[in-house]
C-alpha cells in the first residue's frame, strides 16, 4: 500500500487534485481511495458523497478501466463519537459524550481532523486498498497530521493526560497533599491564572477521556511510522500561481523541519493559453487583455518557482484551470490526465 498526502492552503483546489489523483491511479488498475474533508457540492456529487453518504465507490469514466475508485468523507465528530463508544471504559462512554467539554473538542481542538484522518488510514490499511490519497484540512496547519499523533501520544503518556487525569483523581480522592510539591504549586497557579473552574472541568474530562487518547496514539504511532517511510508515503504540495512562491517557502521549511521530503509541487489553476496577437477591439479585446495580464503573471510565477525550487523539489507540475468548476467525474478526468503520479 502507498499513501499520497496532499498539503496546501485554502482555495487552491487541493480536493480536486486529490480526487483526480485517485482517479488517475484507479485507471492503472489498482484500488484507490481518496479521503477528503470538505469537498465542494459539485465534487461531492461527482464522488457520490451527497446526502450524508460518507463512503462510496465511484464508477470510472471508461468501462474498460480495470481498477476501483473509492471516496470517503471525513466526519470528525462522527469518527470521534464512534471511537468513544468503541474504546471508552465500561459505563464511561455516555459520561464522556455528555461532558460539556466534549461538545467543543471535536471542533476546537486543533489537529483533530488530521488525527481522525490518521485513524481512517489505519482502518483502510486493513481493508486492502493499494493507494490512499489524503486531502488534508485546508490550512497552513495541515501538516499537523504529522505532529498531532505525537501530541496525542504525549497527551496520553505520563507527562500529559495520564498525569492530568490521574492527578485529578488523586486530588479528588486524597487531597492535594498526596502529589508532588512542585506539581501542586503549578496546579494551584494554573487554577489561579486560568480559573479553578476551567482547570477542574478540563481535568475531569481528560480523567475519563485519556483511555481513548491512549488508544488513538497507539494506532497513530503505527500510521505515523508509515507516513514517515518515504517508500510508502509521498507528500505533495498543491498551490496556485499566485501563492506558489509563498507556499513553497512555507511547506519546504515546515516539512523540512520534520525531515519529510516534498515529492512534488503541483501548481494548480494556472492560466496557460497565449492570447492572440494583435488583440481584437471591443469587449473581446478587453477580456483578452485582462486574461493575458493574469496569464503572464501566472507564467512568471511558475518560472520563478522553478528557478528557486527546481533543484530542491524534483517534480514541479503545472495544471491548467478548467473553464468551469469541476463537474462530474468526466471533468475530474480532464485534471486527472494532467497529473503525473508515482506508481
Amino acid at each position: 500500500m502507498k499513501i499520497i498526502v496532499y498539503l496546501g492552503t485554502g482555495g487552491v483546489g487541493k480536493t480536486s487534485v486529490a480526487a483526480a489523483s485517485a482517479l488517475a491511479l484507479a485507471r492503472t488498475g489498482v484500488r484507490s481511495m481518496v479521503i477528503t474533508t470538505d469537498p465542494s457540492l459539485r465534487l461531492r456529487t461527482a464522488l457520490g458523497l451527497a446526502d450524508g453518504i460518507t463512503e462510496q465507490q465511484v464508477p470510472l469514466p471508461d468501462s474498460e478501466d480495470a481498477g476501483e475508485l473509492w471516496a470517503a468523507l471525513l466526519d470528525v465528530r462522527a469518527t470521534l463519537d464512534e471511537a468513544v463508544r468503541l474504546y471508552a471504559r465500561a459505563g464511561m462512554a455516555q459520561r464522556i459524550l455528555d461532558h460539556p467539554i466534549y461538545a467543543t473538542i471535536a471542533s476546537s481542538l486543533v489537529g483533530m481532523q488530521e488525527l481522525m484522518a490518521v485513524e481512517r488510514i489505519d482502518q483502510l490499511r486493513l481493508r486492502g486498498f493499494d493507494r490512499i490519497i489524503v486531502d488534508t484540512a485546508p490550512s497552513r496547519h495541515a501538516f499537523e497530521i504529522l505532529d498531532k499523533p505525537a501530541l496525542f501520544a504525549d497527551l496520553s503518556s505520563s507527562r500529559k493526560v495520564k498525569l492530568v487525569g490521574r492527578t485529578y483523581k488523586l486530588v479528588s480522592a486524597l487531597g492535594l497533599q498526596s502529589i508532588g510539591r512542585s506539581a501542586i504549586d503549578i496546579y494551584a497557579k494554573a487554577e489561579e491564572i486560568l480559573g479553578v473552574n476551567l482547570v477542574r472541568q478540563v481535568l475531569d474530562f481528560y480523567s475519563i477521556f485519556y483511555p481513548i487518547a491512549e488508544g488513538y496514539s497507539r494506532r497513530a504511532e503505527r500510521t505515523v511510522a508509515m507516513l514517515r517511510d518515504p517508500a510508502v508515503t509521498e507528500f505533495r504540495v498543491v498551490t496556485t500561481p499566485q501563492k506558489a512562491m509563498r507556499d513553497a517557502a512555507f511547506f519546504t521549511s515546515a516539512l523540512g523541519e520534520r525531515n519529510f521530503p516534498i515529492g512534488a509541487i503541483c501548481v494548480n489553476r494556472a492560466w496557460l493559453h497565449a492570447a492572440p496577437e494583435p488583440l481584437p477591439g471591443g469587449m473581446a479585446g478587453d477580456v483578452l487583455g485582462w486574461y493575458s495580464a493574469v496569464s503572464e503573471s501566472h507564467r512568471a510565477a511558475v518560472w520563478s518557482l522553478k528557478e528557486a525550487y527546481g533543484t530542491q523539489v524534483r517534480d514541479i507540475q503545472v495544471f491548467s484551470e478548467l473553464e468551469r468548476d469541476v463537474d462530474g467525474v468526466a471533468a475530474l478526468d480532464v485534471l486527472a490526465r494532467q497529473i503525473h503520479l508515482p506508481l
Binding site: 492552503t9 485554502g10 482555495g11 487552491v12 465542494s40 457540492l41 459539485r42 460539556p100 467539554i101 467543543t104 471542533s107 476546537s108 481542538l109 485546508p138 490550512s139 497552513r140 501530541l151 497527551l155 507527562r159 493526560v161 498525569l163 492530568v164 503549578i186 497557579k189 494554573a190 489561579e192 491564572i193 486560568l194 480559573g195 473552574n197 476551567l198 482547570v199 472541568q201 478540563v202 481528560y206 496556485t240 500561481p241 499566485q242 501563492k243 493559453h273 492570447a275 492572440p276 471591443g282 469587449m283 473581446a284 478587453d286 477580456v287 483578452l288 485582462w290 486574461y291 493575458s292 495580464a293 493574469v294 496569464s295 503572464e296 503573471s297 484551470e321 473553464e323 468551469r324 468548476d325
Partner: protein, 308 residues
C-alpha cells in the same frame, strides 16, 4: 460621520470568508484607504502575515503614503503570546512566571482546554477596540477603525463560539467574562460583517453557510459582500456582452476567459437570493506582489465607508 462625538469603541470591520480568497490583501488595502482619509486604523490578524511582513516594507509604505502610514497600525495577535501575557500579568515574579509557562502541566492544560486561546484572542481584540483616550484620557493609542483580518470561516466561527462556550461550561469570573465577550461580539452595533468571496461555487457555498451561521447563532447580518477577483465579463453591460461571440474556432484564451466570465456572471445573479447585502466588486488583477500603487487602487475599488 467623522464629526460626530467619538463612539465608545472603534468600529470593527470583519473581513471573513474561506481561506485563500484575499482577506489579508483586502484588509491592508481597506486599512490604507481609511488611514489616508485621516482615520486611525488598526489591522488585526491572528495568523502570521507573510504578505504584510515580506511584500510591504513598512519603509516603502511610509515613503509612498507618509500621511496614511502615520495612522495605520498592523497587529499580529499570536494566541500563544497572549497566554504568556496572561501569565505574566497574573504572576509578577518573572522566575515564577517562566516556571509556570515552561511546565508541561501548564502547557498541556492550555493545549487541551478547548477555546482558551480563542477566548484570550477575543479579549484582546475587544481591548484594542476600546477607545481608552476618549473615555479616560489615557495615553494609549486608540483607533477609529479596527479591521479584523479573520481566520478562514470555520475557525472564525469557532473563535466567536469560544466566548459562548466559556459561558456555558464554566461558572464564576471566566463565565462572566465569556458572557461579556459574547455580548460584545454578537452586537451589530460594534461589528460590520464583510464576507469576501470570489465568484466560485465552493467559496460562495462556504460564504453562505458562514453567513447563515452568523445570523442564526449571533444575530449578525452581512453589511456588504466583497466579490474578489471578478472577471470584466461580470461587470460588463448587456450591450457589451452581446458583442462577445465564441465558437470552436475562437482562440482558446478567449474561449476560456469568456466561459469563465459567464459562469461568474451566472453565480453573481444567484447571490442576491442568498445574501441581500450590497455587493462590492474588486476586479481580478495580476497577482499582487506588494505593489503599493496597486494596493491603493484596490482600496479605491473597495470603497467601503467607515460607518455602514
Amino acid at each position: 460621520m467623522d464629526h460626530q462625538a467619538p463612539q465608545p469603541q472603534a468600529r470593527i470591520l470583519v473581513l471573513c470568508g474561506k481561506g485563500g480568497v484575499g482577506k489579508t490583501t483586502l484588509s491592508l488595502a481597506l486599512g490604507l484607504r481609511h488611514a489616508s482619509q485621516g482615520r486611525r486604523v488598526v489591522i488585526v490578524s491572528s495568523h502570521p502575515l507573510p504578505e504584510l511582513g515580506i511584500a510591504v516594507s513598512l519603509d516603502g509604505l511610509s515613503r509612498r503614503f507618509p500621511e496614511a502610514s502615520r495612522n495605520l497600525f498592523v497587529v499580529h495577535l499570536d494566541p500563544r503570546e497572549l497566554l504568556v501575557e496572561v501569565v505574566e500579568r497574573a504572576v509578577p515574579v518573572p522566575l515564577v512566571a517562566s516556571t509556570i509557562l515552561n511546565s508541561s502541566i501548564f502547557q498541556n492544560l492550555v493545549e487541551i482546554s478547548p477555546g482558551l486561546k480563542e477566548f484570550y484572542f477575543l479579549a484582546r481584540l475587544q481591548q484594542l477596540a476600546e477607545r481608552k483616550r476618549a473615555i479616560s484620557g489615557a495615553s494609549t493609542p486608540d483607533y477609529d477603525i479596527l479591521i479584523w483580518d479573520a481566520p478562514a470561516s470555520g475557525h472564525f466561527l469557532a473563535t466567536l463560539r469560544a466566548a459562548r462556550a466559556f459561558e456555558t461550561y464554566l461558572t464564576g469570573p471566566l463565565a462572566a467574562a465569556g458572557a461579556n465577550l459574547d455580548r460584545f461580539f454578537s452586537s451589530a452595533a460594534n461589528m460590520s460583517i464583510l464576507p469576501v468571496s470570489p465568484l466560485e461555487e465552493m467559496a460562495l457555498t462556504e460564504t453562505f453557510e458562514m453567513a447563515d451561521a452568523l445570523s442564526r447563532e449571533f444575530q449578525l447580518g452581512c453589511d456588504a459582500l466583497i466579490l474578489n477577483s471578478v472577471s470584466p465579463v461580470v461587470t460588463a453591460s448587456d450591450a457589451d456582452l452581446a458583442t462577445l461571440h465564441i465558437d470552436d474556432s475562437s482562440a482558446p484564451a478567449l474561449r476560456f476567459a469568456v466561459n469563465r466570465g459567464l459562469a461568474e456572471r451566472e453565480l453573481c445573479a444567484e447571490i442576491r437570493h442568498r445574501i441581500a447585502a450590497p455587493q462590492v466588486s474588486v476586479p481580478r488583477i495580476r497577482h499582487w506582489d506588494g505593489d503599493l500603487d496597486l494596493l491603493d487602487q484596490i482600496g479605491e475599488w473597495l470603497n467601503i465607508p467607515a460607518a455602514l
